[in-house]
C-alpha cells in the first residue's frame, strides 16, 4: 500500500473504499493480494526478525492476541489456543501450535470463502473475528492488524506456501 500511495498516486481512501468486494463489485485489493501471494507458491514462509521494529511489531501482536476486551471478554486466544475446539460446528485452529499456524498462514489466506462466494484476504478474516468479538470495525491495514499478522506470519515460518486457500 505504501508504494501504491507514494509512487502510484492512489489515495488511502481509494484503497480503503475498495478493500472488500461485494457480490456486485469485485475488489482490486483482494485480487492484487491473491495474485501477489500466489507468486510465492512452492516457497517456504521465511519472515525475517532482524530489525528492532520487526520484533516490536511481533511482540505487540502477541500482546494483542491475548488481550481480552469487549462485552464478551474475548481475546483471539479464547477461540484459538486450545486443541479440537469448535464454535458450533466451525472448527477453530489452535494457533499456539506452530504446525496449525503454518497451515492457516501458508495455505490459508487469501482464501476463496464459499460462504461469501469470493476471495477474502487476511485483513478480512481479522475484521470478521474482530466483529464476532463485538469490537468496533478493525481499521484496514491498521498497525494493530499488521501486528497480529506479523505475530502469526513469523510463527508460520517453514510452511510451504500454496495460495490462495479455500475456506468455508
Amino acid at each position: 500500500m505504501t508504494c501504491m500511495i507514494d509512487l502510484q498516486g492512489f489515495t488511502r481512501e481509494d484503497i480503503i473504499r475498495d478493500r472488500f468486494g461485494s457480490l456486485d463489485k469485485d475488489s482490486d485489493m483482494e485480487a492484487l493480494v491473491s495474485f501477489i501471494g500466489s507468486k510465492s507458491n512452492g516457497m517456504r514462509m521465511n519472515v525475517p526478525m532482524r530489525h528492532a521494529k520487526e520484533y516490536e511489531r511481533y511482540k505487540a501482536g502477541e500482546y494483542i492476541f491475548h488481550r481480552r476486551a469487549g462485552p464478551l471478554d474475548f481475546s483471539c486466544a479464547t477461540c484459538h489456543s486450545e486443541e479440537g475446539k469448535r464454535i458450533r460446528l466451525q472448527e477453530l485452529p489452535n494457533m499456539t501450535d506452530p504446525k496449525q499456524v503454518q497451515i492457516v498462514i501458508s495455505t490459508g489466506w487469501p482464501a476463496y470463502r464459499g460462504t461469501q462466494a469470493t476471495v477474502r484476504t487476511m485483513q478480512h478474516r481479522l475484521y470478521d473475528c474482530n466483529w464476532q468479538m463485538r469490537l468496533p470495525d478493525l481499521g484496514y491495514a491498521s498497525d494493530m492488524s499488521v501486528a497480529l499478522t506479523s505475530y502469526l506470519n513469523y510463527r508460520a515460518n517453514g510452511g510451504v506456501i500454496q495460495l490462495p486457500g479455500v475456506r468455508r
Binding site: L72, R88, L89
Partner: protein, 209 residues
C-alpha cells in the same frame, strides 16, 4: 520512540539475550496505541468497548503465565461483588423462553460503525456448550451440559450456582473463557433467569433421554 536502545537482536532464537527488549511495559504501551488507532473514527461509545477493565487485564496473559493465588482471588472476589439478581427474586424463569435464547448468537456486533438491530441479545450458550442432546450443531469451548438438571437436580443451591455462573462466570473460575454475560450488561437478570431454567428444568429437552 519505544525502544531507546537498539540491541542487536538477530533472531527470536536468541530471545534470551534480548529478553528485556522491548520490555513488557513498552510492548503494552505500543500495542495499546495501535489498538486506539485501529478503532479511531468509531463513535466513543463503541471505542469504549475496547478499553479493558482491571479483571480483563489480569486475564490477558498467555496460558503459560499463570495467575498468582492473590490475583485469582482478586478476580473471583470482584466477580462475586458484581452479582445482581432479578427484582422478582426468582432465579429460574421459563425454560421455553430460555430455549429461544440459548441458541441465539446475535447482538451487539458492529459493522460500518453501526450496531446490529435486534430485539434482544441472544445468550450464545450453544456456541460453546452442548445442551439439547438432539441438537448436534453445538460448540465445545465449554463442557457439555446435556442432562444438567437430571444430573445435578434443581435445588435452590443448583439454581443459584447456575444463575451466578451465567451472570459472572469468573466468580467460580477466574479468567474462564466463558464471558461474564450479566456483569457486562450483555444479558439482563430476567433473561438469565430464563436461561437458567433451560438446563435446570426437568421438563426441558436438556434433561430428556
Amino acid at each position: 520512540m519505544i525502544c531507546k536502545k537498539l540491541l542487536p537482536c538477530i533472531a527470536l532464537g536468541l530471545a534470551a539475550s534480548c529478553a528485556t527488549f522491548p520490555d513488557a511495559p513498552n510492548v503494552a504501551l505500543s500495542a495499546e496505541e495501535m489498538i486506539e488507532a485501529a478503532y479511531a473514527g468509531a463513535p466513543d461509545v463503541l471505542v469504549k468497548r475496547a478499553v479493558q477493565d482491571a479483571d480483563q487485564k489480569l486475564c490477558s496473559r498467555p496460558a503459560s503465565e499463570k495467575l498468582s493465588s492473590e490475583e485469582a482471588e482478586r478476580v473471583t472476589s470482584s466477580a462475586k461483588a458484581s452479582m445482581r439478581y432479578p427484582s422478582s427474586g426468582k432465579l429460574a424463569g421459563d425454560w421455553k423462553a430460555g430455549e429461544q435464547l440459548v441458541s441465539n448468537a446475535a447482538g451487539m456486533r458492529i459493522r460500518d460503525g453501526r450496531i446490529e438491530q435486534v430485539n434482544e441479545n441472544g445468550a450464545l450458550c450453544v456456541n460453546c456448550h452442548a445442551l439439547d442432546p438432539k441438537d448436534l450443531n453445538v460448540g465445545n469451548l465449554g463442557p457439555a451440559l446435556t442432562g444438567y438438571g437430571a444430573q445435578h437436580g434443581n435445588s435452590d443451591a443448583v439454581i443459584k450456582y447456575t444463575y451466578e455462573k451465567i451472570y459472572n462466570a469468573w466468580a467460580y473460575y477466574p479468567c474462564s473463557n466463558m464471558p461474564r454475560l450479566g456483569h457486562n450488561g450483555y444479558l439482563t437478570p430476567e433473561q438469565i433467569a430464563h436461561v437458567v431454567a433451560y438446563p435446570v428444568d426437568l421438563q426441558s429437552p436438556v434433561n430428556r433421554k
